[in-house]
Subunit: 270 residues, 5 copies
């Protein structure tokens, strides 16, 4: 569970509820913020046009489901990946490239790493290994972007349909001003759609799309380390040089922490 | 028929009608949202300036017509394309490149694939085949962008002309405030143009341009698979390697589903 | 005369006039939308700061004049250009590159094509021909961008100075509220600058800059065909291959129409 | 003195003053637009946070000073530069590359051209000359961008702090509504900060940053001609070819004007 | 301490306080701008959703902490770096590349320079040294961008949650208009969240993210000089040429100042 996202989401909506309850009618004020008709035009409209933009109903459902990804922690353990690659490079150096197959079958779970190793073991041309892995990387990125775009679009359609709802409310109200006392409450209702649209965008959609963007960057970065590492193994580079190369991807302090750990527990891994 | 788009469009406008009908006057409220003069300045103005931006009247009509594309499903059957390319690569390997011509004439309908095969059969230089196919791809993308831009421009001109209409209404009203009771209804009328502009943009134009964008990405992706595949065939690459290469374009789960299908029905196709 | 632009411009302003005339005072309402002081601050301010942005008074005048370009139709006759190049390639193949000079002097008017041919006839190095023609292309594009930027800047300065005018009107009015009956008319006057700014931007500037953008893309595309074609001629490529290559620039239906025409009237041209 | 910028700046502010004077109180209205407190929060706030963004107090002062550049005309005499390069190429052809040194010392003032010539005379490797000159070009561009960003940031902070000022004014006013007659004048005062922010952005900052952008483009273009020309001289290219190459940077009509001048006065220069 | 940032931050908030104190109630007005509930929804909401966007709680805390970087001056002493590189190149020329190791251990503190030298001393392939150093550079830039994005996101969420707070306040107020005298003060309270959001964005977040951007550019520029310099040393280039090359990175006047200093104190350094 990604605590940061969970805590953030809960806190934000909590602040909204507390803020509403501080109105003159206390907690009862919350009732005047619940309006099914307003929810229908704002959420209904925004989701409906997002369905129009989706390439299929299934793609729309997938977009919706991708919100669960913000609660799944992305392990950005570049250190582990680097160690794994170095171990593999030691195996390759001592026992030859073919020995990687067994290592891959035994200890490696990430299908991307596995695929890369199998390509190498098959004796595929290096240029070709790079091209296949990079095509895969860029297609992974494209699929991430589809989800990110889903939430960005919903985040801009929310306030847009909130405003449409407010316009409907205002026009209905202004065309029928007989009872001056109802102006205030009617205005309040008209504004609820704008409120819903803002909440949809700023509580859910924009944070979600930003989180997915940052998750995507982390994953692509890890996979880039894998690509560089595997190609170095294939090229028969020195494990120490490979380590140097891959460590350029992480920050100096993580690099040092890693060196410290490595010298302690290195024996088990090499 | 692309159900996602159709359902989305219908639902969104339905929500607007229900929302209007919830006004004090019930369904009769819909009447006060119909105003020919407001429609004229908002839709008329937005479409007229979009005509100014179009390279010709014909281009404007083509832009308008492109809305029908959002209801046409884009078959994103990358799997079929990949199978087709692999079949062709098997033919080429067993019977030589020239045998592709017959295969192309018999079983291939997509003119882009056909063109590529004919270039290969003609013995055109590989660099040259790539250059011709990529020029074509980038010109296809340009034509898509023209349609996307049409709806984006209309989507920004809608609210702009809605605001012009509202300004006209307000200035007319404010200059002539003798009857205080008419202020509300006049304001209501003035706001209708803003409402029309928002609906034009957020119900039609922005969803359409986003859908066209996503359709374009799907088509370009498919055609990229074709280009990579045909060039691999021309280079005489191993069908198994070609398969590996082309499958990098699709997601891991689709890849597995494809492998499963392939082992069942593979005999018929190879 | 580019009909699309002309019709669009006329229709849009017509809709504004009709919309104004539908006010309570009928056609007389138009009078209350004419206010020299509002025009001065909105148009005057926007044009004056655009003069500040211009590299010289002459550049400013050129920017203004470029609006006439939206009424000049850009002949996007890629077909004619392709035919011309193929004719030239036939000449070059049959009579040698030097024979192009006479062909150029006799039948070619476009100075860009002429320049390219003379470079080829002079025996200039192909890399060099490409570099000269592409430098020229990119400088043409830069000059187009200067005009496009002129109208984009004016389109954003229009509403900005409209708002400045409205602020001046409001501050003057609010500081002096003695006569409550004058509030409405004064507000109306204050809003006229916002109205002028919107009209300037959405009737003239944004459509003009978009049209110039599309004209520029059309011209650059044509010239790209010329560059590719001339370099192919210089490389001594087969006219049939050149045709194939250049036709990738146009859409499949135009390609077919062209083939049809070509087989009819081809004899005269080759 | 750059007349365009000067005239534009004077005209724009003049229009504002006239527009204010057309208020009910005539020229005396200008007094109600002068409010030191409003100036403090709008200008003070905007400049203060721009100081936060600057890399040092000196950089902030340099940013401020760069406004004077919009009044300094940028001589975009590409023609002179081209002639100078052609003269140099003639010298180099007749008397050898070493003769350029004397020519450089005698007739060339631009330090960028001088530096390039000295590199050539020193027999520096062409790749290296290009790399040094292009590094210098891109660093010049970076320095220009720092000034442009200064005015862009100030242009967005102006309206932002104007709005902060207006919010302060409104909150102070609304919390204390005892005297209903003071509402109008208080609102007027609250709006003055918004007015100041708009003026700062749309009269000064946005025009300045756009002018600096256009000046930068002109200078970079000129220096690009120098780079291409010097490298051609070093490569020993024919002066006529160099002329052809460099003329691609200017528009056809300027090219013709130049040829006309050149044939008249060419004898003196070659 | 970076004086520019400190002075700017203090001045800006000072202007806000003075501006508030100029209200009818004098300094006591400040009290009506302090509202814990408004602070909760605006700051609480904005920070909470920023936590959602962060990859972890630790990343969120790091983002917050990065504000201290705007008060730490970034020494943009490109001159010192260039001198250091030239000294190293002299050492390498006279005593061989291996002598750099001792020089590195004695006089160099920057770990990036050190790493580069050790790679060179190890006899690493130049292409490889460049690749490692550039990977490191681009990862440093990525880490900078994470902090910049943190403040940009907070800067856009601040006003967004300020508006949510204002909507809550308005809806609560409008639904309950019994006491007309409380409308003003209630509106004032509702606007305080908008005020807080604007202050958060325009006093803190936008200036911070811009400052971090400029700091990042300065650091990357310095490190680029190091990369170019070290690779030149490895290539055995002449120290005078290296100096020429590296000086292209700084402005002409700094270059001259440096030459002046260098000729005075050069003896000590070479």
């Amino acid at each position: 569970m990604d605590l940061a996202s969970l805590i953030g989401l809960v806190l934000a909506i909590l602040f909204v509820f507390i803020s509403i309850s501080l109105g003159d009618k206390g907690v009862a004020s919350i009732g005047s913020f619940l309006d099914p008709a307003s929810a229908m035009i704002t959420f209904g409209g925004a989701f409906a046009v997002n369905l129009v933009m989706s390439s299929s109903i299934k793609a729309f459902v997938n977009g919706l489901k991708s919100i669960t990804l913000i609660l799944k922690p992305v392990k950005s353990n570049e250190e582990d990946i680097i160690k794994q690659i170095i171990d593999l490079s030691n195996v390759a150096r001592k026992e030859g490239l073919l020995a990687l197959e067994e290592a891959a079958n035994n200890s490696i779970e990430d299908p991307f790493v596995k695929k890369g190793i199998l390509l190498i073991v098959d004796g595929t041309d290096p240029e070709f290994v790079r091209s296949i892995l990079e095509t895969e990387l860029s297609c992974i990125e494209d699929r991430h972007k589809t989800n990110i775009a889903f939430w960005e679009n919903l985040g801009s359609m929310g306030p847009a349909w909130g405003m449409i709802g407010t316009l409907v409310g205002l026009i209905n109200m202004l065309g029928n001003l007989s009872d001056i006392n109802s102006v205030g409450p009617n205005m309040a209702v008209a504004l609820i759609t704008t409120f819903y649209g803002s909440i949809l965008a700023n509580w859910i959609c924009i944070p979600t799309s930003n989180k997915l963007k940052s998750n995507s960057a982390t994953e692509i970065m890890s996979k880039n380390i894998v690509v560089e590492g595997l190609l170095s193994i294939q090229a028969g580079e020195n494990p120490r040089i490979i380590e140097e190369k891959l460590k350029s991807f992480i920050s100096p302090d993580r690099r040092q922490a890693m060196s410290a750990n490595n010298s302690e527990g290195g024996g088990e891994q090499a």
